[in-house]
Each structure stands twice: as C-alpha cells, then as structure tokens.
Symmetry: C2
C-alpha cells in the first residue's frame, strides 16, 4: 500500500530531523537513523536517493511550516504597541521552539555544504517575518504614527534584538534556555525602547 510507504517516509523524516537538529547532519549516520526507525538503509536510499536528499526534504518541510505560521500574523495599525508586543511574543515563542533552534543550528553548521537550502530557509523564514513587520511599520509611517525611516531596516533591528536575546545563549553555549514567561519582561523592554526610538 502507498499509505504504508508514506508512513514509513514520514517516520524517517521525523527521526532524521530529530537527529539532524540535535547532532547535526554530518554527525548523524544513516545507521543512527535506522536504529530509531527500524527497517534498513535501503529504505532511505529508496525513499530519498541519498543522505542529502533526505536533508533537502526535511529543510523544505520545516521551513514551509514556519513560513505558513508567519503568514498568519495579524497586525492592527490602531494599536501599535499591542501589535508590536503580540508580534514579539509570537516571535520569541517561535525562536524558542526546539525545531526552530534545531533548524538554525543545523543550517549554521552546514551552510557551506548546502548554500541553496540555507538561502531558501532564510527567504521562507526570517526574511518573510521581517517583510511582514516592515509592511506594518510602513503603514504606521503613512499613518503619521511613526517617523519615516527605511522600514525593512527598522524591522530587522527589532527582530535582531528579540532573536539574539534567545539564540545567543544557545549557539554559544553561554546560558540555559528560558521560557517565554521569563522572557516577557525583556521582550516588553525591547518593544518599549524600539517604540520610543522610532515613534513621532
């Protein structure tokens, strides 16, 4: 049955993603994956061509999920501060998720090996979110609520503060991961500084 084949592929993708995100692509062997899923190496070569093919499918799949979430973001020009805060909470939430951290970790590790996949991830993920926010900022400039400024750049700066607050500890092994609740104050502070910084 085709159904079983799909289940098997899914199972492999799930297991491989966990391993790749945890240990990186290069440090995960085909055998490691099979040890989790059962079956045999042939399942991977039949289903995905080779190890790199498996990675491609995983990155595509996970970045598509992220980009889908980003598209759902809603902003309200009549409530600038709340909108920014909600956006920032969503962002923080997303950057804290293990799959996202794993995705970033892996892409940082393997960007030299797969430059195209890294670019695709960037465009469907971080860039899309930045565009979404910059559009909102542009509307608020048109409104007269904000000073005219290069909107994409402002959006990038805002997002950098949020993301780095969460990721710098992870990627340099310099602090324990925290929960969104613990972060809330910091996120609010970011919004406050940013808003003071850019509003009329």
């Amino acid at each position: 049955m085709t159904k079983n084949k799909i289940n098997k592929k899914d199972k492999i993708i799930k297991a491989a993603a966990d391993l790749f995100f945890e240990k990186g692509f290069s440090n995960t062997s085909i055998d490691d994956i099979i040890k989790v899923t059962g079956g045999s190496k042939r399942d991977i070569y039949n289903g995905f061509g080779n190890k790199s093919g498996l990675l491609s499918e995983i990155i595509r799949l996970y970045t598509d999920r992220v980009s889908h979430e980003v598209r759902l973001e809603r902003f309200d020009e009549n409530d600038l501060e709340s909108s920014l805060k909600e956006f920032a909470y969503g962002l923080a939430h997303s950057y804290m998720r293990p799959e996202i951290i794993g995705l970033y970790t892996m892409i940082y590790k393997e960007v030299k090996l797969f430059p195209d996949l890294a670019l695709e991830f960037y465009e469907k993920g971080p860039m899309l979110g930045t565009l979404k926010l910059s559009e909102f900022l542009q509307n608020c400039m048109n409104n007269g609520q904000l000073n005219k400024s290069p909107n994409y750049k402002l959006a990038s700066f805002f997002i950098s503060m949020i993301r780095d607050r969460i990721h710098s500890g992870v990627f340099l092994n310099s602090s324990e991961p925290v929960s969104l609740e613990e972060l809330k104050e910091d996120v609010d502070l970011v919004v406050e500084i940013f808003l003071n910084g850019v509003k009329k």
Copy 2:
C-alpha cells in the same frame, strides 16, 4: 633551536586557523594542514597532542586577541552620542573581520563538540564587550542622561542590532558581505533609534 620550533608551531597555527575558519574543524583534515605548511603529521601530533589540541590553542589565541582589543575601548560620558557611534563603528569593524567571522562560524559549527571552548570564547569576546558598554550606560544613568534600566540588557540589545546586521547575511548565506563604509548609515540609524529609545 627553540626558535625554529616556535616558528613551526606558529606556521601550523596560522595555516590551521585559516582552514578551520574557512571549512570548519571537522571538514579540515590533518593532511590539509600539512599540505599548506609542509613537514609531516608528526609535527602536529608532537606540537599539539592531537587535532583537538590544535583547535584549543587556536581558539584561546584568537579570543585573547579579541578580548585585548575590547579592553582598549574608550568612552566619554560627556559625549554620549559620539561615544556610542565610535563604539558601534569599532564593533562593526570587528564583526566584519574575516578572523572573527571565521571564529564565530567555527564555534557555531562545533559548539556541541567543544562546549567549554565555546563558553570561553563567549566570555572573553561578546560578553566582555557587552559588559564594557553596560558599564558606560550605567554611568550615563547615574549622570541623569539616561533613564534607569537594566544596563546589561540594554547593552545586549544594542550589540545585537549591530552584530546581526553584519552576521545574519553571512551565516545564512543571504547576502554579500559589505564594507564598513556601506554600513555606516545603518550603524548611525541604530545609534539614533537606541538613543531615542533610552534617553531621558
């Protein structure tokens, strides 16, 4: 002569650092290094114990250089804006240097393998710079020039904006590296937003 031994070690360190920064630790073989320096593998095993030992020396050496530079930063409480700008230019300059980018790249790649070295890098590099800035901000708060706020956090936010402006393109393969001249406007914009955001 001991002199020759040191020269040989230095030569190996230089060549290995270039390769590690360019291709990463795991993807550089001992033979790759020897191909550049001449001599034989034994030089590496005699001089550094093994491949990891070589990496340790490199990370120590390069992070010490960075931390030395950071210590030289000068601030002037009487000229807040210029001080921040000068600090930001220095920061940008530093984040753009190939050795620094290489160091970050490699540490991101291998943090799982060498968590202690990653932490050491963080403490001697980014953390030290952040402390330096936060001390200055604290002074300006005491002065009454800035609103009271958690100073280390403010400093982190400021640095995140500068660093991410430069590094996000590199690490996700999403844009060409730029020069400090091209960045100057963006750095000025960061300072402007930040200062508006935090000053009384």
